[in-house]
């Protein structure tokens, strides 16, 4: 066992019967040359642990498929639990860089975690492949060491705004999202495209992250064509049940960002999710060879359907492999690795074809899905795909960056009604 083997992986492993992934991912390093070290910043405790566990499953599945060897080099995975907060993310980033000396970091999960460590990884010149969506890390405060093969917070929501206007032909919207960076940026992106196209957001609701009951918010959703929901974690589960129970779902259809209707979350929701339309950068039923093997292997090992969290880390693993293949024996040069990562362009990934823009953010497919019940099981069926979606949507890059970053009141909503 490597020394990445910490108390938590030990506990998790023993509890699950002794032979689970926590054991398999640690690659004993007996080769002559030192292994290439991947540090995974994930969340294994607290409310975000659900997504965090999936992140670990994603990269573990990838490394198992590759027999812990990427581009001919042995790979060792170091897993660190940030606890899902900025201070924890900073501590663990220091730990994996200073103590474990990792070559590349995958993660973290939450936008505010990424914001807490972006300056640090830049200073320590360690490449980072992010799952977290914080917009500015690939926009106004570009970090040359960060690449993001998942999406910015608003990348899918831009698409959702466009889809709502042009395909659903609806005009009046309410939005509800967690009152934190990710939710605010999601709603900001949705609002910009929707209102630029002539739609109106008449109500914006911001429940606290730990709201015990969504009823007071749901009671305010009326006289609109639909409601866009940018909730994350376990919150969409609570929200959608109350939304249906209060009879609002029958009157006001629900649209969602990727976290609110992630494929991995479907087993936690019931009838109330049927009919919800979501925009996501990954869909478990997408037909590529690598997605098929990814879904099959993850289901075999963990018995669950993968969602964006696990797919994001699987794809991050593919990026590392592609960059290492390009660098040959220069894989230990962290600067060269960061540059090589920026140049990665892949065709067979679980999310399809993608490449990075010059800010290190993905340009790739966004799926519009509708939740349906098939053979008694919920599935998100892809109803439209938007290829090559950039983080700037169709806007001019310079004009986009001249605007402030998306936030609670940014862009300002001009059509709010009391």
């Amino acid at each position: 066992m490597s020394r990445s083997f910490n108390r938590r992986t030990f506990l998790a492993g023993t509890a699950a019967g002794g032979a689970t992934a926590a054991f398999r991912i640690a690659a004993p390093a007996v080769a002559q040359n030192a292994p290439f070290k991947i540090g995974l910043l994930t969340v294994k405790t607290g409310p975000l642990a659900q997504g965090g566990n999936q992140m670990e499953q994603g990269i573990a599945t990838f490394l198992k498929q590759k027999n812990n060897t990427l581009a001919g080099r042995k790979v060792e995975l170091v897993v660190a639990d940030t606890g899902g907060n900025p201070a924890g993310a900073k501590t663990k980033a220091q730990e994996v860089i200073e103590r474990d000396g990792v070559n590349v970091i995958l993660g973290p999960l939450a936008a505010y975690e990424l914001l807490a460590i972006t300056d640090y990884v830049r200073e320590r010149e360690t490449p980072l492949i992010s799952l977290a969506a914080a917009e500015d890390v690939t926009q106004r405060h570009v970090n040359p060491f960060v690449t993001r093969p998942s999406a910015t917070s608003a990348q899918c929501c831009h698409v959702m705004g466009d889809y709502a206007l042009k395909e659903l032909k609806v005009q009046r919207a309410a939005t509800i999202a967690d009152d934190q960076a990710f939710g605010q940026e999601e709603v900001g992106g949705f609002l910009r495209v929707f209102e630029d196209g002539g739609g109106k957001v008449v109500k914006k609701l911001w429940p606290p992250l730990n709201a015990p009951d969504y009823t007071p918010y749901i009671a305010q959703i009326h006289d609109v064509d639909f409601c866009f929901n940018g909730l994350a974690g376990s919150n969409p589960v609570k929200f959608m049940r109350a939304y249906a129970d209060l009879g609002v779902k029958a009157k006001v259809p629900l649209l969602a960002g990727w976290t609110a209707m992630d494929d991995a979350l479907l087993k936690s929701v019931g009838e109330e999710a049927v009919g919800v339309i979501s925009a996501a950068w990954y869909s478990a039923d997408f037909d590529t060879p690598s997605n098929k093997s990814f879904v099959a292997d993850l289901q075999k090992d963990y018995g669950v359907l993968p969602g964006g969290y696990s797919a994001g880390m699987y794809i991050a693993g593919q990026c590392v492999e592609a960059a290492l293949a390009k660098l040959g024996d220069k894989g230990d040069d962290r600067k060269a690795l960061a540059e090589a990562l920026h140049g990665v362009s892949l065709t067979d990934t679980p999310r399809g074809t993608f490449h990075f823009d010059h800010f290190g953010n993905v340009v790739g497919t966004v799926f519009i899905r509708k939740c349906e019940k098939k053979d008694g099981k919920l599935t998100n069926t892809v109803i439209k795909t938007y290829p090559n979606v950039s983080q700037f949507w169709t806007y001019d890059e310079k004009a986009f960056l001249a605007q402030p970053v998306y936030g609670r009141d940014e862009p300002p909503a001009k059509n709010l009604e009391q």
């Binding site: 506990l11 998790a12 509890a15 699950a16 294994k44 405790t45 607290g46 409310p47 975000l48 642990a49 659900q50 997504g51 965090g52 566990n53 009152d179 609701l205 911001w206 429940p207 606290p208 730990n210 709201a211 015990p212 009951d213 009823t215 007071p216 918010y217 009671a219 305010q220 009326h222 974690g233 376990s234 589960v237 609570k238 049940r241 109350a242 129970d245 209060l246 009879g247 991995a264 979350l265 087993k267 936690s268 929701v269 019931g270 669950v304």
Partner: protein, 286 residues
């Protein structure tokens, strides 16, 4: 108009759930003076046990009772083996119960993974009923009825039974109660089991609304604290009134003062602590 009516009805239903949550906390703190920071964990573990029993095919209410019984045993063991040794040492009690809350959270994460689990609303209680001019989920109204039934039951027990008289004596003055032959020690275990069982029962009742997920413990504990500080420790009436005050405050506050969403629940607590530290219905300690 329907907005305000929905809020009012929901305030009452949320109050019912809060009472189920905080009654046990109030009992334990009132009698034993133990600030039980595991209370949210009991709620969460109860919810997880409940959904497991449900998955095993048990009827919803049987699952809730089974979960409560299991939690009573767990609570009893913790009280007998650990808390007992720390009588009167508040700091040690806080650290022990806080430590256990982390342990329970980690165990739940291992056993039930991080995925939220939301049981279906029990059959027969699904759907909505008409309340005045609005439609409201039937299940939430059932929770109020159960909360009221439990409040009445607890009140009858405490005010009208011999056991209740002993509990009251213990709350008022434990040393003197011992002198007159009341087995305060057994009483402590009983109350701790009862408090834990109530929390677990509340967890299962709340699960179709709140779902069971990692972090549920930390979300619920502050609510129990607010209710009990507002209502007064050791007072069931206080817990009942406090629950409904918080229910109304939460619902109307979130709509009328959305920018104060984070503090709206804590403001009345601060006011009470400054103006009436013993809480609305608490008695001044002799």
């Amino acid at each position: 108009m329907s907005l305000w009516l929905t809020l009012a009805v929901n305030s009452i239903t949320l109050g019912g759930l809060l009472f189920l949550l905080s009654a046990g906390f109030s009992l334990i703190f009132g009698l034993m003076r133990i600030p039980n920071l595991m209370h949210g964990s009991f709620f969460m573990l109860g919810a997880y046990l409940g959904v497991t029993f449900l998955a095993a095919g048990l009827n919803f209410f049987l699952a809730a009772l089974a979960s409560a019984a299991a939690m009573a045993v767990i609570g009893g063991v913790i009280e007998r083996l650990l808390l007992r040794r720390l009588a009167g040492q508040e700091l040690a009690q806080v650290l022990l119960t806080l430590g256990f809350s982390f342990i329970i959270a980690d165990i739940c994460l291992m056993v039930w993974t991080g995925d939220p689990i939301q049981p279906a609303t029990p059959s027969g209680l699904q759907g909505a009923v008409q309340v005045f001019s609005i439609y409201f989920p039937l299940y939430r109204l059932v929770i109020v009825a159960i909360a009221v039934a439990i409040a009445v039951g607890l009140w009858l027990m405490i005010d009208w039974t011999r056991l209740g008289a002993m509990i009251r004596a213990g709350v008022d003055d434990a040393p003197i109660a011992r002198v007159v032959g009341i087995k305060v020690s057994q009483l402590f275990t009983l109350i701790f089991c009862l408090g834990a069982a109530l929390a677990a029962f509340a967890g299962v009742m709340g699960a179709p609304i709140l779902s069971a997920y990692p972090g549920l413990d930390a979300d619920m504990l502050p609510l129990a604290l607010i209710v009990v500080i507002l209502g007064g420790t050791g007072s069931l009436l206080g817990a009942l009134v406090g629950s409904f005050v918080i229910g109304f405050l939460y619902n109307f506050g979130q709509v009328m003062f959305p920018d104060l969403a984070y503090v709206i629940l804590f403001l009345p607590m601060v006011l009470v602590l400054v103006l009436r530290p013993q809480g609305l219905f608490g008695r001044v300690a002799p």
